[in-house]
Amino acid sequence: MEMDKLGVVTSFLHNIVVYNIPLLYGTTGEIIVEKSGSLNLGVEGIMAVGAIFGYIAGCYANSLGVGILTSFLAGALCGLIFAVLTVSLQANQNITGLTLTTFGLGVYFFVGNGLKSIAWPAMNDYPNIKNGFADLPIPGLSQIPLLGKGLFSHNVLVYLAVVIALCMWWYMNRTTPGLRLRSVGENPAAADSVGINVKRVQYLHICLGCGIMGIGGYYMGLNMSGSFNSSCWINGYGWIAVALVIFANWNPALAILGTFVFGFFNTLRVSGSSLAAAFPGPLGWLAGVPTQLYQALPFLITAVVLVVTSVRKREGSGLPASLGLNYFREER
């Protein structure tokens, strides 16, 4: 069969974005949380909670906006649990994060299975959700051959993810509250001594970051057409997001690039064979790669990235110095 070469490349680019944008939500959210000095390993669970509540509320209200808002609030509520436990009660951050993952997935299945046994809302019955999630080509840019349909013809949540990432970069690096946030993550005692309310900064940004993760979960639910089955919509994306934070060097703008690079390898599994068929000369070898290697590829890449970033010098690293350490004012 003669493949449409341009079509295959465009569809590859399109797939990279469509199936990996939740990573950008997760990564941006986690960067904000980590910049406040908290290592939150609960991304997977928080995305699941955001997904299930966002989807249900969005359907019942028949409004994409309500869905986005609810998923944000549901995620933020998980963040609040995390903040109360780690900031106020000084609980171990790693354990709390892992607990949140278990908790979030439990809530996801509890609510989902419960509702499914009564009446599951099908996305097709809610035209405002269905149409709201349809592709909105950007005028002009989407006309570019090859790249246009691949990169600039997506649903509103894709654009929102990029806008949020850019806004967060600007917020962290160009505003006073952003500076305060970074100082709390670097050295909370010093920040405290100049009058910054450390707890308030941490609470606010943990909730904000977790809320953004929640929207990412909602995206995933919509991308799966809201079909609820025995496996989870989030499918490990939360864990990859935690690693992508390091890949992006705690920089939300770089996270956009990181998502794309990572998505490239993730999507080879889907599009590898059609690329091989369309370009038998240069890319024919892709067809010979076993499925299992494609499955492992994103995680191999993660491992390589972690090794490379560990070897790299501390200089220029965005790693907050107090990441993972609870700040206890009386021990200052």
């Binding site: 069969m1 797939n15 109360v84 046994s117 496996s231 889907v270």
Partner: protein, 424 residues
């Protein structure tokens, strides 16, 4: 204040644990049973002679018994339905060990628990339970063991069971082939959990393809392999890829979720589901699904277990160590056709082939090919032609007019794709 807060949060955190715990350890049948079973209990028992009120059925599941879709759900549903039909009460007479991974020790422990609960027959539904069940069948000669999808057995109390899903696949292939003729698109897609690694997936793909070719000899089936039994995100992505890059107009599947059908609907093409009728998930795309009626086997097996007069007679009562039911037994079937989508004459064509298979005249993997044509007025003509069964590398599998491929090959060792299948 902090202490109270911490206590409250700790309680909140343990809630899901409690919820999981109760579903995992609760030994009765759960959802599908309670209310309905009491009413039907008296009605159907065909055994009559003995009192079966203390007969107990044990089941080992790979996923949660509370699932509402998928493999474990299908089996649990089948067992509960069969027990109710036999006048047994699933709420008290069915003991379940669920979420048991394919690990020898864990399966062995689950068997010990079920035997301790007094189970007379134990069903294990996942392939990887095989070795543990085989050993435990020797250890407990008074208990009957029955294993789905495996190939081990003994002469007395341990059998295995599986179905001729390829026959149902062939029928769904006819529906897909007729649709491809109607749309004029000879490319069909197939999202498969695995390819040639498992005879189960391989025979399904081949059965489907031969069914397609019976009506559309020019068709090509592009198979894309997931490498996992369940992976919803990629089930959707693979279907979209088959539609967009390979131009497929009908998407078939061997995976749990309805994502491929939903993807087909979103793209305005058609599809054939698997395991359950997926018309509700994709009413504008779904044609028909190849499905299992597990209750057919479970009713046969439980009835045999209750009447055979001792575990040592179980295999004999089941007519041999391997149960391999098909269309004839109604163990596999196609779901009711979606009248909104199927091409004209689909029901007639499927009926004609079903009749050939049920009567034993013909089977899918043989040296005889079927050619079906649907005329303008909807009449179906069925011709049989002696033709070799050839794999997609050109090797002859069965000579023209040769006998069917052996059952053991179809269930265990089939590792080739037939002509017309291409890996995507």
């Amino acid at each position: 204040m902090k202490k109270i807060l911490a206590l409250a949060l700790a309680c909140a955190m343990t809630l899901p644990l409690v919820a999981c715990g109760s579903s995992g350890s609760n030994s009765s049948a759960g959802s599908a049973s309670s209310a309905g079973s009491a009413g039907s209990a008296g009605s159907a028992s065909s055994t009559g002679t003995t009192d079966n009120s203390d007969f107990k059925v044990g089941a080992i599941y790979i996923n949660s018994k509370n699932d509402t879709t998928g493999y474990t759900f299908a089996h649990n549903n089948g067992i509960v339905t069969a027990m109710e039909a036999l006048g047994l009460d699933p709420a008290t007479q069915l003991v379940i060990q669920d979420e048991i991974p394919e690990d020898y020790d864990q399966v062995a422990t689950a068997v010990d628990t079920l035997v301790g609960e007094g189970c007379n027959i134990i069903f294990g539904i996942s392939f990887g339970y095989m070795d543990a069940l085989a050993d435990k069948a020797e250890e407990y000669p008074d208990v009957m063991f029955s294993h789905a999808t495996g190939y081990k057995s003994n002469e007395t109390n341990f059998n295995n069971y599986f179905g001729r899903a390829y026959q149902a696949r062939y029928l769904s292939g006819i529906a897909a082939g007729l649709k491809s003729l109607e749309t004029g698109n000879n490319n069909l897609g197939y999202v498969a959990a695995y390819g040639t690694e498992y005879a189960e997936t391989c025979s399904g793909i081949n059965g489907f393809t031969l069914g397609v070719q019976a009506v559309n000899p020019d068709a090509t089936v592009y198979v894309k392999e997931l490498g996992a039994w369940a992976d919803e995100v990629n089930e959707s992505a693979f279907a979209k890829e088959l539609i967009e890059s390979y131009g497929c107009g009908v998407i078939a599947q061997h995976c749990d979720s309805a994502q491929p059908q939903i993807a087909a609907q979103d793209a305005g093409v058609f599809g054939c589901g698997y395991n359950s009728d997926m018309t509700a998930d994709a009413p504008n795309a779904h044609l028909t699904a190849a499905i299992w009626n597990w209750n057919v086997y479970y009713q046969t097996a439980i009835e045999a277990a209750m009447t055979c007069g001792g575990a040592e007679n179980f295999v004999t009562a089941m007519g041999g160590p391997a149960y391999y039911g098909g269309l004839k037994e109604d163990f596999v079937a196609v779901s009711p056709l979606n009248e909104a989508t199927v091409a004209a004459g689909t029901q007639e064509a499927i009926d004609a082939v079903t009749q050939l298979i049920v009567s034993g005249e013909w089977d899918v993997f043989s040296g005889v090919k079927l050619h079906l044509t649907v005329a303008e007025d909807g009449t179906v003509t069925l011709e049989q032609e002696d033709a070799a069964l050839v794999d997609n590398a050109g090797n002859e599998i069965v000579a023209a007019a040769g006998p069917s491929v052996e059952d053991g090959v179809i269930t265990g060792t089939m590792n080739y794709f037939v002509e017309g299948v291409k890996e995507a």
